[in-house]
């Protein structure tokens, strides 16, 4: 850079330290000079900073420094944090996948538990669930369905790839928990004999 003169330096510092955009008059309260002289300095500064990472810009009758618009993306760094779904989240997702399109009330009836507001939000944020129109029923409740992103994440060609109720029963996934435990115990006793 060509070394700026004292007035340019002063205006540069005043604008940098200011907490808000400054008018010509406010600048002149800090830096000696006629309005024209200050205007000239501002033009000189604007030219100095053109093409840099910082620009001097004019908003109405006020001046301010700001970061160059094309670099705004650098100021916001995104970081992904892996997070596991809660038990309520995965159960709700499962119900939507098996019963879609399904209303919130239906999900609650199937789960046997009220679902909190955030649960479906999380599933939508994850990109797995979408609103799927309203049910033609009293109150016209909103229904939910899964998305292509859901199929992609779980490696499914279509929803038909989800194991059916009979498959689940066969693998023991439908057994009530207490019976399943008993079955294990009988097995063990049998082995002991």
């Amino acid at each position: 850079m060509t070394p700026p003169d004292d007035r340019v330096r002063a205006i540069e510092a005043v604008l940098f330290a200011a907490t808000e955009p400054l008018t010509l008059d406010t600048i002149r309260a800090h830096v000696a000079g006629t309005p024209n002289e200050v205007r000239e300095c501002l033009d000189r500064l604007a030219a100095d900073y053109a093409g840099r990472g910082i620009n001097l810009v004019r908003r109405g009758d006020r001046w301010l420094f700001q970061t160059a618009a094309d670099l705004a993306h650098l100021l916001r760094r995104q970081r992904e944090e892996p997070r596991r779904l809660s038990r309520a989240g995965i159960e709700t997702l499962a119900i939507i996948a098996y019963h879609e399109p399904v209303t919130r009330a239906e999900i609650e009836a199937i789960r046997g538990v009220v679902i909190s507001k955030g649960t479906i939000d999380v599933l939508m944020e994850a990109g797995w669930v979408r609103p799927a129109g309203r049910r033609e029923a009293p109150g016209r409740p909103l229904t939910y369905a899964t998305t292509p992103g859901f199929l992609a994440h779980f490696g499914l060609e279509s929803r038909r790839d989800l194991p059916g109720i009979d498959d689940l029963r066969a693998t023991g996934l439908l057994d009530p928990v207490d019976l399943a435990i008993e079955a294990l115990e009988v097995e063990k006793t049998g082995e002991g004999d």
Partner: protein, 254 residues
């Protein structure tokens, strides 16, 4: 080098008792007072006369006492130590014992030098161009932001297991009682009634039990005993036992 202002000499403040009180509050302890006095000798700290300094301090403390000013204990402790130092310094060398008074005087001088050095360093530090006073950062920075995005994770198994869990929880449950090795009371009644007709004499209850062992035998024994009692009540059998826990005998009622 810029030095902090030299405090007023003792001679001037002692003329005004009020001022002396104020100045007493101003000292940061006896070493600070000694340093100010040493400074008033207007020579390099390495060249000060410790004896003159000691004298000055003792006079000061004496005056404060006469004016009935309350001196903190550490000023008095220092005074006592300096009085001792003074007498040692004045005694002829050959009468000296450890510790060497010159050594003590040197220590005092070194301490004053160190405090002085830090006081001056502090003053120079404070005189620097300070951020927020002389230099300024940007008034309204946009700020740097880290946007945290949740990458939600779940496995297919979790999904399927969850559905199984939900279904199991809410589906009407059919209770299936596993086939246990038991003999019901009805079965025992039928068996004992049938067999009693075939035996003419007293017969031990073991003989009425079905073949088998383990849990089934224990269950059969319990049921058959109850059946025997029931049949006895109906007057269809007679029971006999020699002693408690002795074998139980059954016979058809005559």
């Amino acid at each position: 080098m810029t030095r902090p202002p030299i405090p007023p000499s003792i001679a001037t403040v002692s003329d005004h008792a009020d001022q002396l009180t104020l100045d007493l509050d101003g000292w940061e302890g006896p070493l600070d007072l000694l340093l100010s006095m040493a400074r008033s000798q207007k020579v390099d700290l390495r060249a000060i006369s410790i004896l003159a300094l000691v004298e000055q301090y003792l006079v000061y403390v004496e005056r404060a006492r006469r004016l009935k000013l309350e001196l903190a204990a550490d000023y008095l402790v220092m005074a006592a130590w300096l009085a001792y130092l003074k007498s040692s310094l004045l005694l002829p060398r050959e009468e000296q014992e450890e510790p060497d008074p010159d050594d003590l005087a040197l220590r005092l001088q070194l301490r004053l030098e160190r405090l002085d050095a830090m006081r001056e360093a502090g003053a120079r530090l404070m005189a620097r161009d300070r951020l927020g006073r002389d230099t300024f950062t940007r008034g309204a920075p946009e700020g740097l932001r880290v946007i945290r995005q949740s990458a939600w994770q779940a496995e297919l198994y979790d999904l399927i297991a969850a559905y199984g869990r939900v279904s199991a929880r809410t589906r009407p449950v059919m209770h299936v009682v596993a086939d246990r090795e038991v003999m019901t009371l009805e079965a025992a009644l039928a068996r004992v009634s049938e067999l009693i007709g075939l035996e003419l004499d007293w017969t031990a209850i073991d003989r009425f039990l079905p073949p088998g062992s383990g849990r089934l035998r224990r269950s059969a024994l319990a049921s058959s005993f109850l059946a025997a009692l029931e049949l006895a009540k109906q007057g269809r059998v007679e029971l006999r036992q020699q002693a408690p826990f002795a074998p139980l005998y059954l016979k058809a009622a005559s």
